[in-house]
């Protein structure tokens, strides 16, 4: 059933989460569930949070082994290495492994992102011991069978081809490629058609040997398990995982910092538009005022300026959203929307005008107040399921935010002023140097008369 059948319903906002606490203005103590932080002799950081309301346990391991570690020309290696964990171990073939996991009704997923790879287990409490065995086994004894790795590469290539019928995906890939100018964030996590055929089993094995070590990892354990049991049953086995030196490469954050337009002609009914530029890293102290600014500008769903001007007032789009995606290194700022081809230019003009406005005039006291109330009040949304909490805990640790982060978050946000918002809008928004990507029926969109056409493969700038 397609996206329409069942209750895929047509959901009004793109995101929905579950719930929240509202805290009156300056008091605010978003409830962080109790967390125990244990550092093992091999430097693995283990975060444990008990929740006995369901007979269920979630374990999430974060390894600093994301796609930014991909060697040049071997883009997609980190992704194959993560997925390869589940393709067989020294004691179990992939088929036996899958059947064992399925028989428990458990799930085990491996994936890679830009910065990190993640391995997540979800199991009934009664199967925790078996589940943990499987978890450790894939982590420390994967064999990456040649045949399975080749298949995984084939699948990735097919998935890449499949994505090419999705105009939104085409636009975002083009944006990333143009913006990051070949820096380690500049390629898709899953690699490219050009790079994937060069990936071999040996490279995967080496990548795993290089980066999958406890001193390069964080483990969150959430759910129906006691800290005591973690200490007596799990920690001794985790402690046997041996640490090693992690090879570090230099990350040079290069960006395209001048205006550029990329147009891609497709036979589609909507123009898929991305306007954006360089963003910030997660450690940037202006992260908090920027969060507020972005919420007001285009991050806050209904009530954001972009939503109001583009959707509510003019009916030009179903969805329009802006965001920063800070990583360990600077990410991007993007505004994304889709509108019928013939409205593309109108929508783009509005985006540009709104960028100028938020850089020129302070936001209203009411906008500021509303943004703070929502951001602080809805904070616990991020912690209200086991999986979300596990993800949150590993991120807090990865970015060194501290386990008192929820409290700090509230007080830091509350301190943000209209002046701060104006300052960060002026500092971090660059409408004059933005990259514009449009995937559309260019003729219908009136964008087909592009003057100078450069080929992107060899950017001359």
């Amino acid at each position: 059933m397609g996206p329409k059948k069942r209750w895929t319903l047509v959901i009004r906002l793109m995101t929905f989460v579950a719930a929240l606490l509202l805290f009156v203005d300056h008091q605010v103590l978003p409830a962080m569930p109790e967390v125990d932080r244990i550092v093992l002799p091999n430097q693995l950081v283990v975060l444990v949070s008990e929740d006995h309301s369901l007979p269920l346990v979630t374990m999430r391991l974060l390894v600093d082994a994301g796609s930014r570690r991909d060697p040049r020309g071997k883009e997609g290696l980190a992704h194959i290495a993560a997925e390869g964990l589940l393709l067989g171990t020294s004691t179990r073939s992939v088929t036996v492994f899958d059947e064992t996991l399925d028989f428990m009704g458990a799930s085990l997923h491996a994936s890679a992102g830009r910065d990190t790879a993640a391995l997540e287990l979800r199991t009934l409490e009664k199967d925790l011991r078996k589940g943990f065995d499987l978890f450790l086994e894939v982590l420390t004894q994967p064999v990456f069978p040649e045949k399975e790795i080749r298949r995984q590469v084939e699948k990735s290539l097919a998935a890449i081809q499949s994505q090419e019928e999705r105009p939104g995906k085409i636009a975002s890939k083009a944006f990333t490629k143009v913006l990051f100018l070949g820096n380690p964030y500049g390629h898709p996590v899953e690699g490219t058609r050009e790079s994937l055929p060069h990936i071999t089993r040996d490279m995967v094995v080496r990548f795993h040997q290089n980066f999958y070590h406890p001193n390069n990892a964080i483990l969150a354990i959430v759910g129906d398990v006691t800290v005591e049991r973690v200490k007596t049953d799990l920690v001794p086995r985790l402690s046997q995982w041996s640490p090693d030196q992690i090879p570090e490469q230099e990350f040079i954050p290069r960006f395209t910092q001048w205006p550029m337009t990329v147009t891609i002609d497709r036979n589609v009914s909507q123009a898929n538009i991305i306007l954006g530029h360089m963003g910030i890293d997660r450690a940037n102290p202006d992260y908090y005022p920027l969060t507020v600014m972005n919420h007001i500008f285009g991050g806050g769903g209904f009530g954001s300026r972009l939503m109001e001007k583009i959707r509510v007032k003019r009916g030009l789009a179903y969805s329009v959203v802006s965001f920063f995606d800070p990583g360990k290194y600077p990410g991007a700022f993007q505004v994304i929307l889709q509108t019928k081809n013939s409205s593309a230019q109108e929508a783009i003009s509005i985006l540009r005008a709104e960028l100028r406005t938020i850089q020129k005039d302070p936001v209203s006291p009411k906008e500021l107040e509303r943004a703070k109330k929502y951001l602080i009040g809805s904070f616990p949304f991020r912690l209200d399921t086991q999986s979300k909490l596990a993800q949150f805990l590993t991120q807090v640790e990865y970015h060194g935010l501290g386990l008192d982060y929820p409290e700090k978050y509230a007080s830091t946000l509350n301190a943000v002023t209209r002046k701060d918002v104006l300052r960060v809008a002026q500092t971090y928004l660059h409408p004059k140097d933005a990259i514009l990507v449009v995937v559309a029926d260019l003729k219908e969109a009136g964008l087909d008369e592009s003057a100078q056409v450069l080929h992107f493969n060899r950017p001359t700038m």
Binding site: P3, V17, L21, L22, S53, D98, G301, Q338
Partner: protein, 466 residues
């Protein structure tokens, strides 16, 4: 700050939906759920279901209307969903989009959804703020303002939504065509979002009549779950909703298609990267015990990487990128059992179809081995527990059952799954998963007009700075 990006491929989305359908709240103790829900019907006909859960100081408040695309007429498709959008356009006392602002100012989340059988609205907020949701929902149940100017803008938004979800998505477009062929009479044949042609024809008058007919207390019910005391919440609900006048419940009878008597096939030709194959078998819903057997069959076919279709099509033969089987257990009228697969590059959908046929034949012919049957039951039960992790879905699953068979049947799910035997599976496969009872849709990709895939150099120009 980063929006959640949906990178899940089409079939992947089907998986998560299938899992959601099995969600039911099981309390930690072995108490039956029905013992923990309080039901009260107000004098105006509004049914209220209250489920206390004190795990976190949060409440989810949901209003469900028994109206969805099944209630529409064939030339007014999409009306239910457009009305859902218009429900955010204000009442006599609050302005357009003001409801959204009020919820956000109270640190809450909210949303709405429309399906074949229902339209739902919810707010999730801290327990001490939830009164805001009660007041706003009661207000728009009776006082919605349907203004021409708001409608004219919002209908454009819905058209953009349709372009985004369907027009520019070859697989979604194919699924829409499949449903339109598998059914000839019953309203499940048209898409929830409506045909574009119908959207251009809808009027505010249509909406007013629809709202007047279906948005009444006797055609709605509330589900409230979370951190509250029933004896405190119920009087508050009575105060907020009790004064809405009683009206007769609308007629909910709809035509059901007669049995299918032969295979139907369609081909969709349009620009796409990979071929796509989807089959739909006409099946009963949860009112028929065979439906639970179909749940188990869906699990045998595609639940996890050890499932039959995944193993054969993805792992062994490498014919498919994804494969998924999905059963519509909780549809109000009899629905469809789907099998769908995206073909790997260079592959052919007929090869996939052959393997699917072999696997369906195997289901009809050979009894399932006990361990494999147990495996699927374990998966369904674990998923059932796992999904309780979300308060929102605890409420939602009660509502989904309420719409079809009454919320009390929620507790039948696990026992009914446990009861399914190898013989049931053979019998049910022989009855429903047969050629004469199916519709097959094939997406045949046409080459892109420009003749170049996207990974080719695209055009870039230096900007004139604005």
């Amino acid at each position: 700050m980063t929006p959640k990006k949906n990178l899940t491929p089409f079939i992947g989305r089907m998986v998560s939906l299938a899992l959601l359908a099995t969600l039911v709240f099981v309390p930690r103790a072995e108490t039956a759920l029905i013992d923990r829900v309080s039901e009260k019907v107000l004098p105006n006909g509004l049914k209220v279901l209250l489920l206390e859960n004190h795990r976190a100081p949060v409440v989810t408040f949901q209003v469900w209307y028994r109206v969805g695309s099944r209630n529409e007429d064939h030339d007014k498709t999409g009306l239910s969903h457009v009305l859902e959008h218009m429900m955010f356009k204000g009442t006599e006392t609050i302005g357009p989009e003001e409801l959204s602002q009020k919820i956000q100012e109270n640190g809450g989340n909210y949303n709405a959804f429309t399906s074949y059988d229902f339209t739902g609205y919810f707010e999730t907020m801290s327990a001490d703020r939830i009164q805001v949701a009660l007041d706003l929902e009661a207000d728009r149940m009776k006082n919605l303002m349907l203004r021409e100017q708001d409608f004219e803008t919002e209908i454009k938004v819905v058209m953009e939504e349709r372009r985004l979800r369907t027009e520019d998505d070859p697989k979604a477009f194919t699924m829409e065509q499949l449903a339109a062929t598998a059914f000839q009479l019953q309203p499940y044949r048209w898409p929830i979002i409506g045909w574009m042609e119908d959207l251009t024809r809808l009027t505010v008058q249509d909406l007013k009549f629809y709202y007047w007919t279906y948005y009444t207390p006797s055609n709605a019910f509330l589900v409230v779950a979370g951190d509250f005391e029933t004896e405190d919440m119920l009087p508050r609900i009575e105060t907020a909703f009790g004064s809405i006048p009683k009206k007769a419940a609308p007629d909910q009878e709809r035509t059901i298609d007669p049995p299918q008597i032969g295979e139907r096939r369609i081909i969709v030709k349009r620009q796409a990267q990979l071929p796509f194959l989807a089959m739909a078998f006409r099946v009963p819903n949860i009112r028929d015990p065979d439906s639970y057997t179909l749940e188990v069959i869906a699990g045998l076919l595609s639940g996890g990487k050890s499932s039959r279709l995944y193993h054969r099509l993805v792992r062994e033969k490498q014919l498919a990128l994804h494969v998924e089987a999905d059963h519509s257990l909780l549809s109000r009228d009899p629905g469809l059992f789907f099998v769908a697969a995206e073909v790997l590059p260079g592959g052919d959908s007929t090869d996939i179809e052959k393997v699917v046929d072999e696997e369906l034949e195997r289901l009809r012919r050979d009894p399932v081995e006990p361990r494999e049957l147990q495996k699927v039951k374990n998966q369904l039960e674990a998923a059932f527990i796992s999904h309780q992790d979300s308060l929102f879905f605890q409420a939602m699953v009660l509502a989904r059952h309420e719409i079809v068979t009454g919320w009390r049947t929620v507790d039948d799910y696990i026992p009914s799954i446990r009861k399914v035997t190898a013989e049931d599976i053979q019998r049910v496969a022989n009855r429903y998963l047969i050629q004469d009872n199916r519709t097959v849709a094939t997406l045949v990709p046409l080459p892109y007009t420009e003749g170049q895939p996207v990974s080719e150099p695209f055009s870039i120009r230096s900007d004139t700075v604005r």
